[in-house]
């Protein structure tokens, strides 16, 4: 038997070696098709258009001037189809002879609606958008490249309806960004979608390997990917679209495709960008020159010592090109920028090689290799109040002179560190060495059959170090003796994908395509840490310490899935798809492991490219299921385990207080969506509208166990949650003249999140913060103490000194219910705490305008905004705390009696205990992007640089219109981390807490792009 198998395999290999080249020889009667793609309005050549020969798999991308060449086209008549984002497709018939053929110029007309674009995410095999029953957002390289953003998720802000893309912190290297598609869908798995780069599932962790503020999210690992390498991004937003990704797709999928290189001679490109980042606005502090006793006191503004104008530079060098058999794209990138907080910086250097090779007439190989080194210098912020800079700023009284005396930095009186000391001495360097690579083989043994196999690896080596010198921190904790730490984490994600797609010969009015595939993913994370306290006076490494601690952790997750899909086209108008994924993950109990995730979708093209005012109408609907799995933190929740309980220097065990769940299974989302695309006024107006309704059942979280059993909780299904919403995208081509073009895009997103049911008590999802998960309310509503009001008039109840009465304090409200009601004049203040706000926005929107003037000057402006959400401003609360007393309201307490602005003594001490007081409207509109680029293409320039020189001046986060009083309404303490435990428990529902965040800078940049 084995012998037969070996012989059989040998024959197959021999056949592959011998037979395939003969196929190349066999097709001798071919010719080469040449032509040019141009813009119908401007007449200029259009690069990056997809040109294909209908009925074959032959095709090419147009070059910089719109030129294209397609070799080895069988002789005979052929339709040449041209597609490009932003244009209606065009077709031209050519007769190919052995001498080749020329199409001449193929003119594309700009279109506000693009339904013929081919996408691959969520549909198993390349499919036109018009055939898919869900909405798929795609963003192309122009939009990403011109955003002048340092990371891809930053570049997507404001460009995808249904996506809440939040920059949670403003540190260098992109800050920590979270992407949430269609609301909160899970408590445990983070809000972030599954990221795939060229078919490789990539790690977008935002782990803090040392304490940089626990939940402050300084950076997420998508920051390693150079946006300049990206060709396009596809976003599918929910279960209906993502069923084929099975138990990892509940939060949607973002697939990134990098550039492949265009046909032609090598083309070199160099982009240089210089940027300047600055603090948008200083915060007001208490600078009143008298103290509590009316005595003069000197006060200091530390902000200029902490923040500075920071510069950055970025260089991208690319070379791409190719011929009929080979296409390549090679790039090198250096990004080096300082953060606006002194002593913070980020430096990313990377190289990429993308290679596509026709290995045989029916076999194409694709290889991508991307190596990145990211080196950051961070400072702690957010929750880190011992040595974090923002915490020290907010908690330090303004009358402390932090300037060093004889080299000694004075420490603040009660909390935090000296921020100048932190900037000068505390170091948190990170080094990330990352390789992302993939190999893909596409084989078309017969015209109707397409076989694809991809293997990909993402290997992230991450070292986090920390050095806190001796005597840099108040108190007697070990860190006051100094701390040196080194943590190494290696994350390796390997995935294999195989898919086969068979297109049946047409059967009357029906066309069928059958697709089947598998996917196997393994994620392996290994962490080792060494920590030393009791540091010597000199030396920043662990070896400088005298008291040592070490730890090690290893987690592996594997997911295996098989899927099958059947598509039926009827008269090229109605498209029906049914699919199922059968999926298993190692994290679930064996008995519950295998789950089926079906989907059904239909698309009906009512009108297509009709002339006149009503050009296009497509209706679509889809129903699908997807799941989510526990993240790395809870990967082994199915096992009943024991924890180390060492004592008196001996190793010991005790039961883990989190009881294992031998029946653990996945969360399950059911989503239904319905939508339409409409093209109007000669497709100068395109409207895309979607309504969706998603219900997630069996939400996983910690179910409390009776603590008398010796356990505390169990990871188990606890309830269900829904998201319902509307996404609208309106694109208009307002003016399309030869010398002036103006287009606009408006997006609107409304999402309503609701906790539908809970099998357990309401719970605080953000450990230590006043919020709640409660049935009948959106996830993560603020819940806490409030200022008591008169039940009859609704007026605030004040005490004799004019101070608020705290709902949860007996001193203010009396000890008994009867006393409370007597003070309140009713029952309206009976509860100690109540729901006091909601961090979830009512709606989000963006407004994007693009102007092209005289074909050379491009002006772009993007406004985006979030509306109707609330923020709990704990930064200002910290300023008001007694030990800080550095806020503007505290200043009013110091004013002399008689001043109309005078606040009664103890006013601010009272507001500390009223969480309602710190709720602010978080609505904002940002001028997110503004840019002007000019193309120098006079002959003198073009003699040197083939495509001319693009010069761009741009700005990000230039203006923010908001009533929010903190540094930035976008800052959020909780970003992408979720599923943490204990006092640092964090869920994907936790939003809207501003506590010592790193302010988001205003950025100006100037860039020049040369190609030759």
């Amino acid at each position: 038997m084995a012998h037969t198998l070996v012989r059989y395999a040998a024959r197959c290999i021999a056949l592959a070696l011998v037979f395939l080249p003969t196929v190349v020889v066999a097709q001798a009667t071919t010719g080469t098709v040449r032509g040019r793609v141009v813009d119908a309005a401007g007449g200029r050549g259009l690069p990056d258009a997809q040109v294909s020969i209908e009925g074959t798999r032959l095709g090419a991308l147009s070059g910089a001037n719109g030129d294209f060449t397609i070799a080895a086209v069988p002789t005979g008549p052929h339709n040449v189809v041209v597609r490009r984002i932003g244009y209606a497709p065009a077709t031209k018939l050519v007769a190919v002879t052995t001498d080749g053929a020329t199409t001449g110029d193929i003119a594309l007309t700009a279109s506000a609606l693009n339904l013929t674009e081919v996408v691959v995410t969520g549909s198993a095999a390349p499919t036109e958008k018009r055939k898919i029953g869900t909405s798929v957002a795609s963003v192309d390289s122009t939009l990403i490249g011109r955003a002048e953003a340092v990371t891809v998720d930053q570049a997507l802000q404001g460009k995808v309806a249904g996506a809440q893309i939040t920059q949670n912190s403003g540190g260098p290297g992109g800050g920590g960004i979270s992407v949430r598609l269609r609301g909160t869908n899970s408590f445990i798995s983070g809000s972030d979608p599954l990221y795939i780069v060229d078919g490789v599932i990539v790690d977008n962790g935002s782990a803090q390997l040392a304490d940089l503020g626990i939940r402050s999210n300084p950076q997420n690992r998508l920051a390693d990917i150079n946006p300049d390498d990206i060709d396009r991004v596809e976003v599918i937003r929910g279960a209906a679209a993502a069923a084929l990704y099975g138990s990892r797709a509940n939060n949607g999928v973002v697939q990134i495709f990098t550039k492949k290189g265009t046909l032609g001679k090598p083309r070199f490109g160099l982009t240089a960008r210089l940027s300047s980042n600055e603090l948008r606005e200083e915060q007001p502090f208490n600078f009143y020159p008298y103290n509590e006793n009316g005595l003069p006191v000197q006060r200091f503004n530390y902000q200029p010592d902490i923040f500075h104008r920071a510069y950055g530079q970025e260089y991208n060098l690319t070379v791409d090109g190719g011929n009929e058999a080979t296409r390549y794209y090679i790039s090198g990138n250096v990004l080096d920028e300082d953060g606006i907080m002194r002593s913070t910086s980020s430096r990313r250097t990377g190289g990429r090689v993308n290679l596509q090779q026709q290995l045989a007439s029916k076999l194409i190989g694709n290889v991508t290799a991307n190596y990145i080194t990211t080196e950051n210098q961070m400072q702690a912020f957010g929750e880190q109040n011992d040595y974090g800079i923002m915490g020290s700023l907010f908690f330090a009284p303004t009358n402390v002179d932090f300037r060093p005396v004889n080299g000694v930095y004075p420490l603040p009186p009660s909390l935090g560190t000296n921020p100048l000391l932190a900037i000068d001495k505390i170091r948190n360097p990170q080094t990330i060495e990352r390789f992302i690579g993939s190999a893909k083989a596409t084989y078309t043994p017969i015209t109707n059959l397409l076989l694809d196999y991809t293997i990909g690896i993402d290997n992230v080596g991450f070292e986090q170090r920390q050095f806190v010198p001796r005597n840099a921190v108040l108190g007697t904790a070990p860190i006051a003796t100094g701390r040196a730490q080194s943590v190494f984490q290696n994350t390796r994600v390997i995935n294999q994908d195989g898919v086969g797609s068979y297109t049946w010969d047409p059967m009357g009015a029906f066309e069928l395509r059958t697709t089947a595939g598998f996917n196997f993913t393994s994620q392996h994370i290994r962490t080792t840490s060494a920590t030393a306290n009791g540091l010597a006076p000199v030396g920043e490494l662990v070896s400088a310490g005298s008291v040592f601690n070490a730890a090690q952790n290893e987690v592996e997750l594997r997911t295996l899935g098989f899927y099958a899909q059947q598509e039926v086209d009827w008269r090229n108008k109605l498209f029906v798809t049914a699919a199922v994924r059968y999926d298993a993950s190692s994290t679930f109990a064996p008995s519950e492991r295998w789950q089926a995730f079906p989907k059904f979708s239909a698309s009906y093209v009512v009108r297509e490219n009709q002339p006149g005012l009503f050009n296009n109408l497509r209706l679509r609907s889809a129903l699908g299921w997807a799941g989510s799995q526990p993240g790395v933190v809870n990967a082994y929740s199915q096992y009943i385990t024991y924890a180390n309980q060492n004592f008196a220097g001996r190793p010991g065990f005790a039961n883990d207080i989190t009881f294992g769940n031998p029946d653990l299974h996945n969360e399950r989302a059911r989503e239904w969506e319905v939508g339409a695309e409409v093209g109007l006024a000669h497709t100068r107006v395109g409207l895309e509208a979607t309504y969706y309704n998603r219900l997630v059942d069996d939400l996983l979280f910690f179910r409390p166990l009776a603590t008398s059993s010796g356990f505390s909780r169990q990871f188990a299904p606890i309830g269900s949650m829904s998201n319902k919403g509307v996404e609208l995208m309106l694109r208009t081509l307002n003016v399309d003249q030869r010398n002036f073009q103006w287009s606009s895009t408006v997006s609107y997103t409304h999402n309503k999140n609701l906790v539908e049911s809970l099998d357990i008590q309401d719970f605080q999802s953000a450990g230590g913060y006043p919020n709640r998960i409660r049935t009948g309310y959106p996830a993560g509503v603020f819940y806490g103490s409030y200022a008591a009001r008169d039940c009859a008039t609704g007026a605030l109840l004040l005490d004799s000194l004019g101070r608020y009465r705290r709902s949860n304090q007996t001193v203010d409200m009396g000890a008994t219910l009867a006393q409370r009601q007597a003070i309140s004049g009713g029952t309206c203040n009976d509860s100690l705490n109540k729901i006091i706000g909601d961090p979830n926005p009512n709606w989000m929107g963006s407004f994007f305008n693009e102007f092209t003037i005289f074909r050379k000057l491009h002006v772009r402006a993007l406004l985006d905004g979030v509306f109707g959400n609330q923020i709990m401003n704990l930064s200002t609360r910290a300023q008001n705390a007694g030990i800080a007393s550095n806020s503007k309201t505290y200043e009013r307490e110091l004013l002399p009696y008689g001043d109309p602005r005078k606040l009664p003594p103890g006013y601010n001490a009272r507001t500390q205990g009223i969480f309602e007081y710190w709720i602010e409207d978080g609505t904002f509109i940002k001028l997110r992007e503004l840019s002007a680029s000019y193309t120098l293409d006079m002959p003198a320039v073009r003699r040197v640089f083939r495509d001319g020189v693009d010069l761009t001046v741009s700005g990000r986060n230039l203006v923010v219109w908001t009533n929010y009083s903190g540094y930035d309404p976008e800052i959020n303490l909780f970003g992408t981390n979720a599923g943490g435990i204990g006092s640092v428990q964090t869920t994907a529902a936790d939003r809207g807490f501003d506590f010592g965040g790193y302010p988001i800078p205003r950025t100006w940049s100037f860039s020049a792009r040369f190609t030759y």
């Binding site: 904790a477 598998f518 594997r558 492991r593 385990t641 004592f647 010991g652 005790a654 008398s708």
Partner: protein, 452 residues
């Protein structure tokens, strides 16, 4: 062409086959499973160490909480309001103060039950002396933990092992159960003396198990007003030589419970009144605190910083040896044997440097001048217990027994004994256990004892 198709199918099948070989059954390399721990001798011995670790934690939690709700401790720089509430006698439901004792006690109980179960299952693989030692240790620490719970909560669960919703019983049922556990511990070591392996490699170095069992027996016999048994057991607690102290040790990087909370957001320190209310010659404060003049706690209470636990590696005494003498004196006084009672009490009062050669608080007071009456003796014993047993949590039960619960004492008032009767039941248990009784109401007139 057919061959090509067949090869493609074969390649696809082969890759699927390879995938099938990729197991989805992954073991957790970070933590041992229940089976690995409870079915191996090494694992069960590890449980015995874990039990002692958990005991140190629950004992610390009990002493910490009871010190706050009596007159012993004040919050230092606490960021947590619940701690300064507790030092004024207010313990709202759901706070760490009300839950930590309960939760940690029942974790200790769970580990003791795990150890008993594991030892029973592997009885034929463990030598008899090690087996008896581990069983006695489990009984003793389970008993003391439940005893701490019944000094904190009006009713407590006593049968909890593998029960999802344990029932609560009053002290009249719980206290005999605790005493029976201690008797079982004694029976174990009497029948089969613990092996050298147990004493040297399982039991924490510095702990003398027979003495611990006898002291606990005396303590709970006294609580049950069983003076005869209290007397008998107290007499069996060794009072000289190296075995007179039983120490839980904390070699670095481990940190003593009190040192661990000192300076942190949960920080506490003894109230200055502990020192200043002593008789002028009394030297016991030097054992515990460093006298201060102006230090105050979070809400202004004068305090003295720790001396005893300033060193993070300072050992924690399982019991103070003179507790046996004070139990004995109280039992004798109760029985009307006033002169012997006073003699025993004087031996505590006159314990002085050198003394019995052990490192414990030393009063260095003169003996009482004249024979006291029974009431006077009991009051004096109560006073001596206050100074001798700081931080053990026993002060709270003493206040109850003496009908000296004085109710919440708002700052700047300074409490002089226990401020409340009970803690609210743990929310962690209530959230998942329908058998948790309603929180007991606190008395409204003071001073008072507490309804049991």
């Amino acid at each position: 062409m057919r061959m090509v198709r067949r090869c493609a199918v074969a390649a696809a099948t082969a890759s699927l086959g390879l995938l099938g070989a990729c197991s989805l059954d992954l073991q957790n390399p970070n933590s041992p499973t229940q089976e690995q721990v409870t079915t191996s001798v090494d694992g069960v011995i590890g449980l015995a160490t874990g039990l002692q670790g958990r005991f140190a934690q629950s004992y610390g939690n009990f002493g910490y909480m009871a010190g706050l709700v009596t007159d012993e401790f004040t919050a230092t720089s606490a960021a947590l309001i619940s701690i300064s509430d507790a030092e004024q006698g207010a313990v709202p439901s759901g706070t760490a103060i009300s839950d930590n004792v309960f939760n940690s006690v029942y974790r200790t109980v769970r580990t003791a039950d795990d150890l008993l179960t594991g030892a029973a299952a592997l009885a034929d693989q463990i030598d008899p002396g090690t087996l008896s030692g581990m069983r006695a240790l489990a009984y003793a620490l389970k008993a003391e933990s439940l005893g701490e719970a019944l000094q904190s909560y009006q009713q407590i669960p006593i049968k909890t092992f593998n029960i999802t919703a344990p029932s609560y019983v009053p002290r009249s049922e719980a206290l005999p159960y605790v005493r029976a556990l201690l008797d079982s511990a004694l029976t174990e070591i009497t029948a089969t003396p613990p092996s050298a392996f147990f004493n040297n490699s399982v039991l924490t170095p510095g702990v003398n198990l027979p003495n611990v069992i006898q002291l606990f027996r005396a303590r709970y016999a006294r609580m049950a007003n069983d003076d005869a048994k209290a007397l008998e057991a107290a007499d069996l607690v060794g009072r000289t030589g190296p075995t007179a102290l039983s120490l839980l040790t904390f070699p670095a990087p481990a940190v003593n419970f009190y040192a661990n909370v000192t300076g942190g957001p949960n920080g506490i320190a003894p109230r200055q009144q502990y020192r200043t209310s002593m008789a002028p010659q009394d030297q016991r404060f030097t054992y515990f605190v460093v006298p201060s003049s102006g230090l105050t706690g979070r809400i202004g209470a004068p305090l003295d910083p720790w001396n005893r636990y300033a060193n993070p590696q300072a050992p924690l005494l399982v019991y103070f040896p003179d507790e046996a003498l004070l139990i004995k004196a109280e039992a004798l006084a109760n029985q009307g044997q006033l002169a012997p009672a006073q003699a025993v009490l004087d031996s505590v009062r006159t314990d002085c440097t050198g003394g019995r050669g052990i490192d414990d608080p030393k009063a260095c007071l003169p003996p009482l001048a004249a024979q006291l009456s029974q009431d006077e003796l009991l009051t004096e014993i109560y006073t001596q217990r206050k100074y001798e047993l700081l931080g053990t949590g026993l002060r709270w039960e003493d206040s109850r027994r003496r009908n000296a619960i004085i109710g919440p004492t708002a700052s700047p008032g300074i409490p002089t004994s226990g401020q409340r009767c009970w803690l609210p039941y743990a929310v962690g248990d209530r959230n998942a256990n329908p058998n948790v009784p309603a929180d007991p109401s606190e008395p409204s007139t003071f001073p008072t004892g507490c309804p049991l």
